[in-house]
Symmetry: D2
Subunit: 343 residues, 4 copies
């Protein structure tokens, strides 16, 4: 007996990536595929790379069209997902790729999103301490943001093991432009972005900043403040995050490496590379894998962790499917046995 | 009972792509992974995107290391594969991703490759008329070149149905730079190729020209001459082929469309797009799919067919695995149920 | 005494490129800079690369704001330029980067542009036979389209010397996405175009087709029919045109080379490369130079000419300034002494 | 009377960029053009974008071929330039684009370069406090490294005005791959770097780290320690540097902005953008301009400065020509009146 899944927001990048993965998932059937303004179109027109689903017709994104499936993926603008989720049956597994249910602090939510807080759901990053258990049997899951996924995987072992100081974390991330969504904006057209790097949301303004601080503060069990600067890189996909924090005095390079190694050696999708090898976004493109490496700069007393993910896969749709697999008790890597696509 | 496969040339792009696909193939186990100068290395150092095989150690590419497996993939420089293939057991399924066994005309071989002709093997392009049957049970298979794969899929329905004239075919293809191989050459470094288009092998000099003429001449059952110009595009993967030929007088647009439609409507990996939709290389990236569209320009009396493939997947490793599946009587799409990776 | 110039359409790519060149022109002062919806903005907001003009404020594109300058550049949507041009003083040198005044055949104009024909102006491609003289003292100049610039430079020597047959020309061009303009369209955003090649306007539908046929027919002094296929390449700028035609019987490779050599050896901006060297778009990026090479494929009886330009410079703004220089009797390369920007 | 200039290392990226700029310099004639292994070649073969110099023949890089010119540019591997410079006449203006004469501390030199210290020359970054005067009449000039150029321009106003703390500077830079030089290395080929971001020299190992600390320590007149992480971005040119430091307590956002504004408002090539506008590398491509913006993140107490340059122009060859102009008393912007090339 297979699991029936509905995917909303199917004309966008997140929804398209959920469909790309589910098309190869052995345990699910793709029930409803829904969109808003594109309802009624052939999927092949909007997502021509999904050859196996090209003839499927998009339905309207309504509660009626989504309810009645075992699992519902919401890939909608923030605000929209909370509204629909509230009206789906309690027993349906609802996985929200949007931001609505990530932040626990209502004030942080209101400050960065300017609307009423919709409450918090189990956080779909199973590699965090204790999080895999929290996802088993869950019927509501909040998929982390793409930047927080890379930042939390990069630094959590250092904080959960009390090896790093929480008052001076600096994170700079470079993201492919798909992170900005499938939006017709002049600043995103190819002629503008090809061959160019540019920052945005500098100075603490990016909405993923409180989400990163929330995750690292839980790991340290004390407040962590983060200076986060996102930049746009001339590539379609991928995030390279460079995360650095002060190492507590007396902590050695060996202790640091051991902490990361213990955190990830048994993880199927997070890889601390052999010493001397550094990650590239291409090595994880189209896959749910995370590649990272760390260095202890004794001259500055900082650890520098570089972490590469695909923003649409591990950073969104892959993490969502991995969380679904755990929630339903399926093999965690079902549908996710995809290598990176390189060169 | 699973099939044991050996893959040679594993440090290059073709060998790496064969491994990427086989890592997800339900019916095979990857026995030997071999290389030449990189023998002894961890695969993860050379192909960091193959996370599932990262700890495998490359063996030396010798007959001893390859023999004893049910299937052997040869991804070697031309010349090298013929020499090794000749010493592998007759019952072993040998699939040559190199050029050695593609051309039937010894003079064409010698003119373009400058060495002795190694003989011809069944041609691994099952979508050509009668070719799927020719591959069933085959123990020696020659994988087509990447450009010929796109060119033959683009034009064969027109020639096999005698709708086109054979004396004036013009083909211009744009390829990602992975087509030039994993070679340390100044003209291939990123700073040179990013943001640039350039031609090469112009004037009939490219080695794929006789292979394209061979295939189209078989389809027409009469000689076809082809003007073929390859160009390098600033992308890692993908081929967009623009192929054009004179339409025989009296042939209508409807007859043309019907011929392509009949040729491909039942094919799992070749897609004639709905009228008005044109292919992009991104829509097939990392997949074994081919997307194409045609137009009849009555003003010039020419049909123009645009065909997009991934040079490393359908153009090399995907076509190789598809041919293996047919030869062994497996599901033709086993291990190839991959959508394109976009955006 | 310097020449006062007004530039309209300054917020777009063509207008921005005219300003980039004029900012370094020794003989002109930039009088008015105008736009439509962006009137009132700082140029630095819209064209941040024009540091030398960053504080200039855009005026509204009106006849009043453009009249009263010695030279007016029109970089406007087709239709708009004809309307404004008609109301500018007869003595003002008006240079139209749009399509309105390129085509001589009113029927071709109406078929491809669907509006009334505005008449024909001297054609701003001085390297064509006799065209430099036609531009001296001209007060109305039609800047050629970017594709026609590359196609006409590629093939004219063969036709004007009666070395090629006019009934079977095939041209395939790859263009950077700036050729599609600074338009907020989903199909042009970076995530869609990076890493992808795609065709458009296939089958004779592109508006530059009649312009190419017009130019080649004049060179041959007989009708020439052209199969033209444009493609979009993952780069911001540049056009690589691959143009091929049947060589008249008895014509030798030497005669072909001599014709191109005689046509361009004394040209400051068109370069037939030494034999064996092929052009790349990067070698002309940001410059007014054209790089080309040809090969005679005796097997097919075709000459193949590959020609690289920057679509925005030689293909639009550079050609426009070069034409202005000739019209006003300035040094032809004034303001155009720019090398390509590579790597 | 014009100045005779010799350029060594003309087949590389730095030497090629010096020639690109000098080809448009009103006051110089390019005397000798020299290379090592490529001596005897046509420049057009090696630098096809330098159309105006295509027929120049490269001489061998010897003291004899370089001496006797008013100015000599050295674009050579470190070690080589010191050796040649020592044998050039004292009166010749020698401008070293290499690293040999940048570092003042012999121990830092030996630690990072592993050879004997060659001594220190005036530092070719005229925008640093007092540095323009130091360059007037200089006959030996050390061109800064590309990363230090962007890092020092980004942070110096904060340190020279004692607004920032020196013990906790974090800098992450993204560079185009031309920064790695014109070297045939597999990890630099297009198929590897396109669509990928990757770090290198992480943990304080990059040779530009001591150069950045030297410059910032001079500005503060006290030791500054820097955590510097360089990354490779999928573009040919450009550096985007994100530099952040702790703001001294009590310092306001207005004081910060005023310091940067006073430092750069009168500079011809360094631009603090209007508030709200952030830099992109494309806006400075091919130009000597620097674009920057800063933000004070009160939540973390850090200032974040984002600074964009072209690594080959302001970061190397443009800065070298600007320094030459100052040394010789020419107009500082002679030959450098180039806007960015965008889109």
């Amino acid at each position: 007996m297979t699991i029936s899944v509905a995917v909303s927001g199917a004309s966008g990048y997140a929804g398209g990536e959920v469909l790309r993965i589910l098309a190869g998932h052995p345990d699910v059937t793709i029930g409803a595929i829904t969109a808003h303004s594109n309802a009624g179109s052939r999927l092949g027109e909007l997502q021509p790379h999904l050859h196996g689903l090209a003839d499927r017709i998009l339905e309207d994104t309504t509660v009626d069209n989504l309810a009645g499936h075992d699992v519902v993926f919401l890939a909608l603008p923030h605000g929209a997902s909370a509204e629909i989720a509230a009206r789906l049956p309690a027993g349906t597994v609802v996985i929200d790729a949007g931001a609505d249910h990530r932040l626990e602090d209502p004030h942080a939510w209101e400050k960065f999103y300017g609307s009423a807080h919709a409450g918090t759901w189990p956080y779909g990053l199973p590699e965090l301490p204790g999080q895999r258990d929290a996802l088993r049997g869950a019927t509501r899951i909040a998929v982390p943001g793409c930047y927080p996924t890379s930042a939390l995987l990069a630094l959590t072992p250092g904080f959960s093991n009390h090896l790093l100081e929480g008052d001076d974390v600096v994170i700079v991330s470079a993201s492919g432009t798909s992170g900005a969504g499938k939006a017709a904006k002049v600043n995103l057209i190819g002629a503008e972005v090809m061959g160019s790097m540019s920052p945005y949301g500098v100075g603490g303004g990016h909405r993923h900043t409180p989400e990163i601080e929330q995750g690292l503060s839980k790991a340290l069990n004390a407040p962590v403040t983060v200076s986060f600067t996102p930049t746009l890189a001339p590539m379609s996909r991928g995030i390279l995050t460079t995360a650095t924090a002060k190492v507590r005095s007396g902590v050695t390079a060996e202790e640091l490496r051991r902490a990361w190694s213990e955190a990830y050696d048994d993880e199927p999708f997070v890889h601390l590379l052999p010493e001397g090898q550094w990650p590239s976004t291409k090595s994880v493109l189209g896959s749910n894998h995370t590649a990272m490496q760390l260095a202890f700069d004794e001259h500055t007393g900082r650890v520098i962790v570089c972490c590469a993910i695909d923003n649409l896969t591990k950073g969104t749709a892959g993490g969502a499917v991995q969380s679904m697999n755990i929630a339903l008790g399926l093999a965690e890597d079902a549908g996710l046995n995809l290598q990176g696509v390189a060169p």
